[in-house]
């Protein structure tokens, strides 16, 4: 196949895949295409998307953030613990806790030059330990009153649409804006596509990397809050099982793990694909463990298709 056509195909593959999947599941199970189901699906995708949107920035510049699920869980614990005393103040506190962990990860990555793979894995471990310590290893329920008083913006509906969908859309809009209009967004792409040239051009590469880690962890913390609000509890294991789908969402959307190519927009498509695969399989009666297997296979296939071997001849 000629390379231009191949590149074009790689480009549109995710959206075609999404349409195809929706049609397949829709035909297999008629209830799937009802507006109510689709709304639930979108709401379900929202937390996953928010988390994946954060990782996108790190992956764009060629790194990875494996700490997100632990950071999200920790943030839900912080929120649940502080809601009774701080009220609305619990939300910025949870976000700040996430941002701080992202900062630690970013400093290890840029100052100590520890590969992001390891630094984020380690910070994830720290986040889990903190969450376990804060919560006394228990799930922390949020009382009915508190829920009504403070969680309306997560659990409610606006214009008939679940609030989570709105939150996801707001994150999407902000991320797209950052990507397109800020120096940080452009520099992330440049670092991912050609770090030596970016360095030689005077781009503050370390700062860009640090910021990406903070953004990723902050969005993970936000995702943890939304998830905690939905389940009306904070828990140190709340977001377990989110890492694989979140990384899958980024990659399935067509953002290259090698950096430099991609967008949060693509991550949205990827997150929807992951959700349709999961929900669709439930609709079609596929066992929940088999779902995880399918998801793993989808991830490998997606990387196989999206990786540009002209750019990286050796894969380790």
């Amino acid at each position: 196949m000629n390379p231009a056509v191949a590149a074009r195909l790689r480009d549109v593959a995710p959206i075609l895949t999404l349409i195809l999947l929706v049609l397949v599941v829709g035909i297999g199970s008629r209830g799937f295409l009802s507006p109510e189901t689709l709304l639930v699906l979108a709401a379900d995708t929202s937390t996953l998307f928010i988390m994946a949107a954060g990782i996108t920035f790190v992956i764009l510049l060629g790194g990875i953030d494996l700490s997100v699920q632990a950071v999200a869980s920790m943030s839900s614990v912080v929120m649940a613990l502080l809601l009774p005393s701080l009220g609305y103040g619990a939300f910025p506190a949870a976000l700040a806790a996430g941002a701080l962990l992202g900062l630690a990860n970013g400093l290890a990555f840029t100052r100590l030059r520890v590969p992001s793979f390891i630094s984020s894995l380690a910070v994830g471990g720290i986040a889990t330990a903190l969450a376990l310590a804060f919560s006394g290893t228990r799930s922390i329920p949020i009382g009915e009153e508190l829920r009504h008083a403070y969680l309306w913006w997560i659990t409610g509906r606006m214009l008939g649409i679940p609030a989570e969908i709105w939150l996801g859309l707001i994150v999407l809009a902000i991320c797209l804006f950052v990507e397109r209009y800020t120096l940080f967004g452009r520099w992330s792409l440049a670092v991912g596509a050609g770090e030596p040239a970016a360095v030689a051009s005077g781009v503050p590469v370390a700062l860009v990397k640090l910021l990406a880690c903070v953004v990723s962890a902050t969005l993970a913390a936000f995702a943890g809050m939304v998830l905690g609000g939905r389940l009306v509890a904070g828990s140190p294991t709340l977001a377990n099982e989110f890492l694989l789908p979140a990384v899958a969402a980024v990659v399935v959307g067509g953002t290259a793990l090698t950096g430099g190519v991609g967008s949060v927009w693509r991550t949205l498509i990827g997150a929807l694909i992951v959700s349709v695969v999961r929900v669709g399989m439930t609709f079609l009666g596929v066992d929940v463990f088999v779902q995880q297997i399918v998801l793993g296979i989808v991830l490998i296939l997606a990387v196989w298709i999206t990786i540009d071997r002209a750019k990286i001849p050796i894969v380790k």
């Binding site: 397109r180 452009r186 440049a190 970016a198 030689a200 051009s201 005077g202």
Partner: protein, 508 residues
């Protein structure tokens, strides 16, 4: 067929190779007789590396043929080349430092040492010892390669190549790619003695930048220039000056370098170095650079000029001496600092440090000074497009659109994008580190045009170049470096330009 009726061990007949935009090898013929040491010299870009890569099976020639012991051979891979009897001692050593010497020597050839499914390390070490005896070096084959000196590793590499002897039929030809570049004189003497002693086992192709060594070791010398062999002679008939002028020698064409457009530089000093030193690379360098001037730095590899250029681009901070930029002391500790002082670096490795290939033309042009196209801290896309379009037009960058990825442009146009980036960033000093490397003649001329235009506007240029001719043609003044120090300075205004031989005398 060679002189004396003996069949050549290795023969290239009319070998041709083209890459997009570059004719890398033009009808190259060359022969290596049994037991002979053949020297191969040429400037960067002359085609030596391409030739070596064809002989080691990395590249396939577009035309012509390779003969081994008189028989035509096709080398599809390095394994093919080895099986034919062509071995290579790499400049960047190819030994794996985490393995033992024996493991390195027999890497990929462990089969004879298998006992069942396991490796018999004793047998392997004993066999390795026999190989090491061939090069008369006394090292324990069970030692981890990391522990060896560079010179010892080179001997091991030679011993490894000599294992081919037992596997092939016919003559063994060993290519030595710049084997002396990091060796001390005593080590070089030993290496040469070994090579001489091995001539009854193998023939050698010896590539080096050090012409005295070439004369010392080789029986015959081939000189390459612009992808072609331009001379071949017995070493006995050559001397270093003769070889060097053959290597660089073409009559300099004043028109080619736009010398009529070379204006005198302005009096104001934009950059000054005093006693500038980078430990291990160069020492005590003094110079003044004026607005509108092209200051050429000449010198062979190892003279320190490459590192000096990188220092001035902010990529290798000096360890001593002082540097002032526009009258203020500057350290140039990072590229970011250099950029903020108005210095732009056009690197030798264009594809690595110059362009971001996966970004479009527009993003590359604005990368050096993205803030200039922002409004209220946010990127103004309309302004960015206008900026990029202006530069594409002014520098005649050939690209379908400004959204085209830079990786899809020709080398010359990529280089123009890099220059556009710095001119757009308002650079007042531009460091051109081998700016025409890998470009064809037409693209080079366009780069020269650009240099004349920007200097006419007062931009100062530091130039290190692949050819002396280019250095002389473009520069206002030239400093010559040798063995880490400045050895001579030349005025090079049109009408009073020095000769290549004048410079060479102070370089070698």
């Amino acid at each position: 067929m060679s002189a004396g009726g003996r069949t050549a061990a290795l023969e290239l007949v009319g070998v041709d190779k083209r890459f997009p935009g570059v004719h890398a090898l033009k009808n190259v013929s060359l022969e290596v007789r049994p037991g002979e040491v053949v020297g191969l010299i040429g400037e960067n870009g002359a085609g030596k590396s391409t030739l070596m890569k064809i002989l080691s099976g990395v590249y396939q020639p577009d035309g012509g043929e390779i003969r081994h012991d008189g028989r035509k051979v096709v080398l599809r891979s390095p394994i093919d080349a080895a099986a034919t009897g062509i071995g290579m001692v790499h400049q960047e050593q190819s030994l794996l430092t985490n393995l033992t010497v024996a493991e390195n020597i027999w890497l990929g050839k462990e089969k004879p040492f298998l006992k069942g499914r396991l490796i018999d390390h004793k047998a392997m070490a004993a066999a390795a010892r026999r190989q090491l005896e061939k090069v008369q070096i006394d090292i324990d084959p069970t030692v981890v390669t990391e522990k060896l000196s560079f010179a010892q590793r080179q001997m091991v590499e030679l011993a490894k190549v000599l294992t081919l002897e037992e596997e092939i039929e016919g003559h063994l030809v060993i290519m030595l790619d710049e084997p002396t570049s990091v060796l001390e004189q005593a080590e070089i003497d030993i290496l040469f003695a070994r090579v001489r002693a091995l001539r009854d086992r193998a023939s050698f192709v010896f590539v080096s930048h050090r012409l005295d060594e070439i004369l010392d070791l080789s029986d015959r010398v081939y000189v390459m220039k612009d992808g072609a062999v331009v001379a071949e002679m017995p070493s006995a008939d050559a001397d270093t000056e003769k070889l060097h002028s053959l290597m660089v020698g073409r009559s300099r064409n004043a028109e080619y370098y736009k010398e009529n457009r070379q204006k005198p530089y302005r009096p104001e000093v934009v950059m000054a170095a005093s006693g500038l030193t980078l430990a291990g690379a160069y020492e005590g360098v003094d110079f003044e650079l004026h607005a509108g001037e092209v200051l050429g730095i000449a010198g062979v590899i190892g003279s320190g000029r490459e590192e000096l250029a990188r220092t001035l681009g902010g990529l290798a901070p000096a360890t001593g001496g002082t540097l002032t930029v526009f009258g203020r002391p500057a350290r140039l500790a990072t590229p970011g600092e250099a950029v903020s002082l108005g210095i732009g670096y056009v690197p030798r490795e264009r594809r690595v440090e110059g362009i971001v290939g996966f970004l479009p033309v527009v993003a590359n042009i604005t990368l050096g000074n993205l803030r200039a196209v922002t409004r209220g801290g946010l990127i103004d896309h309309a302004k960015e497009r206008t900026t990029a379009e202006t530069w594409v037009k002014r520098l005649a960058i050939k690209t379908p659109t400004i959204r085209t990825l830079v990786m899809n442009l020709s080398g010359g146009n990529q280089q123009k994008v890099v220059l556009a980036k710095w001119i757009n960033a308002g650079a007042k000093i531009i460091v051109l580190d081998h700016p025409t490397r890998g470009l064809d003649v037409g693209a080079k001329e366009e780069v020269y045009e650009l240099v004349r235009s920007i200097t006419a506007e007062g931009v100062a240029v530091i130039l290190t170049s692949d050819t002396l001719e280019e250095t002389i043609g473009l520069s206002h003044r030239i400093i010559v470096m040798k063995d880490k120090r400045v050895t001579e300075r030349f005025e090079a205004m049109p009408g009073g330009k020095p000769d290549q031989l004048d410079l060479i005398r102070h370089m070698v």
